[in-house]
């Protein structure tokens, strides 16, 4: 071997080292398994699905059990603690997590949209954050708000966000909504399309959503913070701000495609829950609906063959009832694991009936002028109309027929008008609020469990909720959710445990 050859070999071996620049060689640490950036059209649906997953599962189950629509089925045992009014902190990890992760996505959505002049996305982000934080503070009281969602280094690296008082959170919610309304009013840019799972980018509906959400928030604090809330409620009506009406329901519809199922159905039909029907219809709701000739009962619950609707007394999971002898939540609620139609139910964010009942209550309480009677019946009607197809299928009577029967009765069949449909036109404000709240409670059966429970806390109605047989609270009702175990374990600013009976800020009666 010649010397030259040796040099060539040696040089080649050596050159292998020097050919690429060191900096470039080492620049391979950008994670190829995640997208470094995402578009507003992909973040928006992700954020909305997070929110709907929380509302549709954990908050829905908990709310509907404490609102006494549902109770633990004797066939299972997954929700015994909730039914006993005896939850543990760990029961709230998942719901809290999905709400904050959803909010985190809305927060990042705002930043991305802001850099790209996508104004409508900014507005939706603010509205959805307002909605999420209202849900959080209504459920848990003081929650991280002003310092929340800023964990990443570019956002300030706040990994122990402080808890804000509910007053601060509520003021924040109102200002988010006002900003959003402002943005929608002055921007002309294109909005979202199919990526907006709630309204398909219809900004007019988002304006209605904004006003209705604002009305809901203000009404919630109208007792505890009257000087702030009441004039603003008045302004909403005085300016004829558009509110959600028939067909404007803010909801996310789910689909039968695998992975697109209603989250409650996906949850309850999972192998982990043993393919067992975990939820049963509560006697509290079913018996009142039956007594009121409310056909909606057959939409919200399954009838027992030969026996009609049969509720299980609240928290009587310990009596051994065989399968098929009691009513279970029906497919319209997403909770019927025996019926695949559950997969295509909706998660309701803000409903048309809620909007009408909010209006009725604002007027009945004298915060605004108008006809509370009209709004009251519009609310009932909205609920029947929304369920019209399902009513037709379940009872043969469509929404109009069932509504008329409910409100007016049918003398020929010896059916009296429903007791809770007879609005006390001449009654006191309190009496009127009782009817409004009770009707709202009926309308929210199986679809707005959390909001319903929240309103029972605020208004004290319906007055026929029972003390569950196996309650741990000796007659008291739960007044809040427990702070999640994860928060206690990880947040240095964790304010300490609050018992489930401690009332939230606006719950003053």
């Amino acid at each position: 071997m010649s010397i030259n050859k040796k040099i060539v070999i040696a040089a080649m071996a050596g050159l292998a080292l020097g050919t690429s620049s060191c900096r470039k060689y080492l620049d391979v640490n950008s994670n190829p398994n995640v997208a470094q950036e995402a578009t507003v059209t992909t973040i928006l649906p992700a954020a909305q699905l997070h929110l709907a997953s929380a509302l549709g599962t954990d908050l829905q189950i908990n709310g509907a059990i404490w609102s006494q629509y549902w109770t633990q089925s004797p066939l299972g045992k997954e929700y015994i603690r909730l039914d006993q009014h005896n939850p543990t902190a760990a029961d709230y990890d998942m719901g809290w997590q999905n709400l904050y992760l959803g909010a985190s996505n809305f927060y990042q959505l705002y930043k991305v949209a802001n850099g790209q002049y996508k104004e409508q996305y900014k507005a939706i982000s603010l509205l959805m954050q307002a909605y999420t934080f209202q849900t959080l503070t209504d459920g848990w009281g003081d929650v991280p708000f002003s310092q929340a969602l800023q964990g990443q280094y570019p956002d300030g690296h706040i990994v122990n966000p402080a808890y804000d008082s509910q007053r601060v959170v509520y003021r924040g919610i109102i200002s988010y909504i006002d900003s959003a309304i402002n943005i929608i009013e002055r921007s002309t840019g294109a909005g979202p399309g199919v990526d907006d799972l709630v309204y398909g980018g219809d900004m007019k509906k988002w304006t209605k959503f904004a006003n209705t959400l604002k009305l809901r928030a203000l009404l919630r604090i109208s007792d505890v913070d009257p000087l702030f809330a009441q004039p603003r409620i008045d302004t909403i009506f005085r300016t004829n701000a558009p509110l959600i009406g028939l067909g404007d329901d803010a909801r996310i519809v789910y689909y039968s495609a695998v992975g697109n199922n209603h989250p409650l159905y996906a949850e309850l039909s999972s192998a982990e829950l043993g393919h067992v029907q975990q939820l049963a219809g509560s006697k509290t709701c079913i018996d009142t609906m039956v007594a009121n000739n409310d056909y909606r009962g057959l939409v919200f619950y399954n009838r027992v063959s030969g026996m009609g609707l049969v509720g299980v007394s609240q928290s009587e999971y310990d009596i051994k009832l065989p399968e098929g002898t009691f009513s279970t939540p029906a497919a319209a609620t997403g909770a019927d694991i025996m019926n695949t139609a559950s997969a295509t139910a909706s998660v309701m964010l803000l409903s048309s009936w809620e909007s009408y009942f909010l209006k009725a209550e604002a007027i009945a309480r004298g915060y605004a002028t108008g006809s509370d009677v009209q709004a009251f019946y519009a609310g009932i009607y909205a609920s029947f109309a929304y369920n019209s197809t399902a009513l037709q299928a379940a009872t043969g009577a469509d929404g109009d027929v069932a509504y008329n029967l409910y409100v007016n009765g049918d003398a020929s069949m010896g059916i009296a008008p429903a007791r809770w449909a007879a609005y006390p036109v001449t009654g006191t404000a309190e009496q009127r609020v009782q009817f409004i709240a009770t009707q709202k409670w009926f309308a929210m059966t199986g679809n707005q469990g959390f909001e319903s429970w929240t309103e029972t806390r605020r208004t004290g109605y319906p007055d026929f909720l029972v003390t569950p047989k196996n309650s741990f609270l000796a007659g008291k009702m739960p007044a809040r959710f427990l702070y999640p175990a994860s928060e206690k374990a990880t947040n240095a600013q964790y304010p300490g445990e609050k018992a489930v009976t401690v009332k939230v800020w606006w719950d003053i009666f």
């Binding site: 292998a16 080292l17 020097g18 080492l26 994670n31 992700a46 990443q152 990526d195 949850e267 947040n491």
Partner: protein, 1087 residues
């Protein structure tokens, strides 16, 4: 950087030019190497100092080679013998090798770029084993074969079967997230030791986890132990600083067998053939109660024949119908205990291993070629493990000072393993849920409708006939849940070097390329019972997963070595090197998940048979490093040694500002007995003594991508048990990832100090080696859990510090060694390591390493890394210091703690081994015992068996209520505790209450094991002198033959783990397969 590289190239070129021009003359050197008894030793390497020629002795111990003129120091080296330096005086040499102190002298393969050093030269602890010692019980895994032979190594061989996971940790765990396994280096090339078990799926597929485990083992087991000539274990930081970040956990250096140069006519082929047959049985099976059989008299139907639990009547041996009524018929059997019904399920594993090697060489070249085929059937029906290895190793002298060598090792494995854990496909879980009176073996007839799980009745309905309405017939599970893995792997290195006089310059390229394909089949079925009395059905939508993993490890080392005797008394050895490392892992998986629609057609496993979406998953990992290192070693009269090393690394896993990190190491050794040369003391008492002391630092870089911002993923949006995925009605959802990194992550760094003493007494009849070490690791990286109100769930930070302090002791004695050939040796090791998590940043109480929700294995400040953290029964300590269980006065049942408590660690307090070798002429007897004491492990079998009433504790007091031993209750509203007299219901406790206190599943992991026992016989040559055989040997062997465990452990082999070899959530047995005992025979022939 460019400048440095250029400099190296120039140096190399200059060196070549300078030295290549000489044309040296050579002379022939020949001789014979013999042992103490004058018998020739085969296979001894003979070189001349400064020369490149190497000769190897033949069967008679003869050698011959050419040495350059002027060089006359002959170096004779062989593992297990002291290296000899002989002056060549121009005549035939007779060199006597002394089997001196095996553990004190001889050679070790150090990180000094895979060249050998004499053990006396190193200032740190290094243990070397020859291939024979490694294979003393024919272990199929090299790592398992080291058990009990190396002080300081904590080895966990999970199920001890071929291919099963084997973990090796030296001097304690240091990192939370990294795998802590020692680096495995083959002939100087770092190999890719990856887990085939679970780690690939954690992100993508909740279908697999530690709770639903499929143990394909780790890739360190691919390497064929028969190819190994010697193994050196480098315990500490000072020893491995040269491997940079990857050597932070110590290193295991494999030196493979090579062909030997031989000159002239003496050049001869050397052929070895070895055939081994091994059988395997399950060892420790959970101990069962033998009184109560199927049924549930407390909360169900007393003689429920569809029940899986054993809470029924006392077994009376009377005939009783069992199973379903099918077509009006029902089986009858005695209602009697089946003492071995768990054990009988398992087959006897059989393993045939054939090995052939051919080696040879000429003056200029040598080669080594080996082939191995191992075919093993497992103890669980239908499982198997096949391994094929081909190795080629060649070395050629290109010219008198330029050489090249190539090592290529092709490895192929193909295996099918059972699932364990608690998933529907877990063979072990379905088995463990068998009532005491059910004869499991009968269920093996899956064509019998009374046992079948899936057939059609006359109405066309899919039915099952098996007796059990809750758990599958385990034979059916073993047949239909089918998990396979295939690996093709090539480990190779190519080296070109230049050697002349004091200089040695080389460049080596090493690669380890693996391709793994795994398939996981989960059958589709929907079978209802034939018998109307059975209410439950077996339903699964089926699933299929196929994965493709490609791993690349590429290393380039360029080294310049200068080895010079400065004077007669003073020698030096210096080198500088440059290293490039590229790590690339690519995983591609297609998943049809049971929870996402599953399969359309049954028994058709293809990604095209999807009822729901096929989930695609890919994961790419890139990591690159560059290192510059130098090492300077001096010796004074080969008595005093000093070594100084330093390395600087640049790693892609850190931001540029932190990319570069430097760490040094210093070690010194003094063979003080040299001072006593010629004294009586040395001759008669202490013939060898060395003190050594060393200190080193080692930096371990970040983990790829852990310093990135969050980014966005399309992961499903999960609720507790369900999830939503996109596309969602035409919309694609990308969520902000819930974890993000700290841009400022620093490398993990370990500082270690060690001191040791090596002593030989009575002419090496007694040897002892002591090492003490203290190490402190800072900046270990882990994801800190964040409050989700921050918008995120995890943040990767430099989270804490870990210390490891310990002792390593190895002893060896030879009580008898006679001239007529009887030799008896005893040896022992003792290892103690105290591991402490010294500090946790970020206000964290602990970092979760493994386990499951409610039973976590954590790193918590002040505790060992790997401490159990779970809810337990509440205890109260009375003023006298005695502990009492606190019970509910109404039910008598113990109360659960409100928060998890720390319940001990999986780290053993100490490990020890004791062994003996007895040899007489050609007969050798070898035995080795090994023990670990003081650790804990979690046994899901205990929890399951307590719940289903098959464990012994459930039979106390005839299952009637009794008072919890030594229990108290708290007087409400006070701090007063009073003795309890309320009796509790064992049924309530074991089926319900205990399930809320998983800490009750933690049991003592202490054990003593008869690790190895073997007898071999070298048949005297006179019997086959005329045959072509050069040597003939046969033996019987066994490993893991007997196991003694702590009293509280009635359940599992404490080593059996569900955490694989790489995870730090060790000590976790979630219904893993029982471990194996292996025993067999072998025959070995040399030509």
């Amino acid at each position: 950087m460019k400048k440095t590289s250029l400099f190296l190239v120039l140096m190399l070129s200059a060196g070549l030019t300078a030295f290549a021009q000489e044309t040296p003359q050579t002379h022939s050197v020949s001789g014979k190497v013999v042992d103490e008894h004058g018998k020739g030793i085969k296979g001894v390497t003979v070189t001349v100092k400064g020369g490149t020629e190497t000769a190897v002795t033949d069967v008679n111990g003869d050698f011959m080679f050419d040495a350059p003129d002027g060089s006359n120091l002959i170096i004779v080296q062989q593992v297990g013998f002291a290296t000899q330096y002989i002056e060549d005086e121009g005549q035939s040499l007779i060199i006597t090798m002394l089997t001196l102190s095996k553990q004190l002298e001889g050679n070790v393969t150090t990180a000094l770029v895979a060249s050998r050093q004499e053990k006396r030269e190193v200032g740190y602890n290094a243990t070397t084993l020859g291939g024979d010692e490694l294979m003393s019980a024919s272990n199929t895994s090299i790592i398992s074969g080291l058990q009990g032979k190396v002080a300081g190594a904590n080895i966990t061989s999970s199920t001890n079967g071929p291919g099963g996971s084997a973990r090796i940790v030296l001097r304690g765990e240091k990192s939370f997230m990294k795998n802590n396994n020692a680096l495995i280096v083959v002939d100087g090339v770092i190999t890719n030791n990856y887990d085939r078990t679970i780690s690939r799926f954690n992100a993508a597929n909740p279908w697999f986890s530690e709770l639903n485990q499929i143990d394909f083992g780790n890739s360190a087991n691919d390497i064929n132990p028969e190819d190994i000539e010697s193994v050196t274990v480098l315990h500490g930081a000072a020893a491995t600083a040269m491997y940079g970040a990857m050597g932070a956990n110590g290193a295991i250096m494999y030196t493979t067998k090579k062909g030997k140069h031989s000159s002239g006519q003496k050049g001869k082929m050397d052929i070895t053939f070895k055939s081994t047959y091994t059988q395997s049985d399950v060892t420790k099976i959970p101990q069962t109660q033998n009184m109560y059989g199927q049924g549930n008299i407390y909360g169900g139907i007393a003689d429920d024949r569809s029940e899986y639990r054993s809470w029924g009547y006392e077994m009376d041996g009377g005939l009783r119908p069992w199973g379903q009524v099918i077509d009006g018929k029902q089986m009858v059997k005695p209602y009697a205990n089946q003492p071995n019904n768990l054990r009988d399920f398992f087959n006897r594993g059989k393993n045939i291993n054939n090995y052939l090697s051919i080696s040879g060489g000429s003056e200029k070249s040598n080669y080594f070629l080996s082939m191995n085929a191992m075919n093993a059937s497992g103890v669980v029906p239908n499982t198997f493990y096949n391994r094929y290895n081909v190795r080629f190793s060649g070395n050629t002298q290109l010219s008198h000072n330029l050489y090249s060598s190539v090592n290529v090792n092709y490895l192929n494995t193909y295996s099918r393993v059972e699932a364990s854990g608690n998933g529907p496909g877990s063979v072990i879980n379905n088995l463990i849920q068998t009532p005491r009176d059910i004869p499991v073996q009968e269920l093996s007839d899956l064509d019998n409708n009374f046992y079948a799980m899936q057939f059609f009745d006359t109405s066309g309905t899919e039915r099952y006939g098996n007796y059990n309405g809750s758990y599958q017939n385990p034979y059916w599970t073993a047949k239909n849940y089918d998990n396979r893995n295939k690996t093709d792997r090539v480990i190779s290195d190519v080296k070109i070097g230049f050697k002349q006089n004091d200089w040695h310059i080389f460049n080596r390229v090493g690669t380890d390329i693996s391709a793994d394909r795994a398939t996981y089949k989960s059958p589709l079925y929907s079978s209802s019972a034939m018998d109307a009395a059975y209410s439950s059905a077996f339903v699964s939508p089926g699933g299929y997963t196929q994965t493709n993993y490609n791993g690349l490890r590429f290393y380039n080392d360029f080294v310049i070595n200068y080895n010079h005797e400065l004077s007669h008394n003073f020698g030096m050895n210096a080198y500088v090197g440059h290293n490039l490392t590229v790590q690339r892992d690519e995983l591609l998986a297609g998943i049809i998940e049971p929870n996402f629609g599953g399969l359309v057609l049954p028994a058709y496993y293809n990604l095209d048979n999807n009822a729901g979406p096929v989930i695609g998953y890919n994961n790419l990992v890139n990591r690159r490093t560059m290192g510059l290192y130098g090492n300077l070693a001096f010796n004074y009269q080969r008595e005093l040694f000093l070594e100084i090393a330093g390395r600087n690394d640049w790693s892609s896993t850190l931001i540029q500002r932190r990319q570069s990190f430097y760490y040094p190491a210093v070690s010194a050794g003094w063979v003080f007995t040299e001072r006593l040369d010629g004294t009586r003391f040395r001759n008669n008492v202490m013939n060898y003594g060395k003190v050594r002391i060393s200190g080193g630092g080692v930096g371990s870089d970040g983990i790829a991508y852990t310093n990135n911002n969050a980014g966005y993923t399309r992961n499903p949006i999960r609720t507790s048990y369900g999830s939503v995925t996109s596309p969602f009605n035409g919309a694609y959802a990308y969520s902000v990832m819930n974890a993000f990194g700290d841009n400022n992550l620093s490398p993990e760094r370990t500082r270690e100090f060690e001191a040791g003493l090596d002593l030989g007494f009575l002419r090496d009849r007694i040897n002892a080696s002591f090492t003490f070490y203290r190490s402190y690791t800072i900046n270990t990286i882990a994801p800190v859990q964040l409050p989700t109100s921050s918008g995120y769930m995890y943040n990767y930070i430099n989270v804490g510090d870990v210390s490891n302090n310990g002792v390593e002791i190895a002893l060896r004695g030879t009580p008898i060694s006679t001239r007529w050939g009887l030799r008896w040796e005893l040896f022992a090791t003792y290892t103690r390591n105290k591991n402490t998590v010294e500090r946790l940043n970020g206000g964290m109480e602990n970092v979760v390493l493994g386990g499951f929700d409610g039973m976590q294995i954590v790193a918590a400040e002040g505790q060992s890394l790997g401490t159990f953290y779970a809810k337990d029964i509440e205890y109260w300590k009375d003023p006298k210091g005695e502990w009492h269980a606190v019970v509910d006065p109404a039910t008598g049942l113990p109360i659960a703690t409100t928060t998890p408590v720390y319940k001990g660690s999986y780290q053993p307090k100490f490990m020890a081994s004791w062994g003996t070798d007895l040899s007489y002429k050609g007969i050798k007897l070898h035995a080795l015992f090994f023990t670990k004491q003081g650790g804990k492990f979690y046994s899901q079998n205990k929890m399951n068996m307590d719940a289903n009433g098959t464990s012994e504790p459930t039979t106390v007091n005839g299952r009637n209520p009794y008072v919890w031993e030594n229990s108290v209750y708290q007087v409400p509203g006070t701090n007063i505790y009073q003795a309890n007299t309320t009796r509790f219901s064992p049924y309530e406790y074991y089926t319900t209450q205990q399930q809320t206190v998983p800490a009750q599943g933690i049991v003592d992991a202490s054990y003593v094991r008869l690790q190895e026992l073997s007898i071999s016989y070298q048949i005297p040559q006179r019997y086959y002198e005329r045959s072509p055989f050069g040597a003939l040997e046969a033996g019987i062997f066994g490993n893991n033959l007997a196991l003694w465990t702590a009293k509280s452990n009635r359940y599992d082999d404490p080593e059996a783990t569900s955490a694989g070899a790489m995870g730090n959530g060790q000590g976790f047995n979630y219904t893993a397969r029982p471990a194996l005992r292996n025993y067999g025979v072998y025959v070995k022939v040399n030509f």
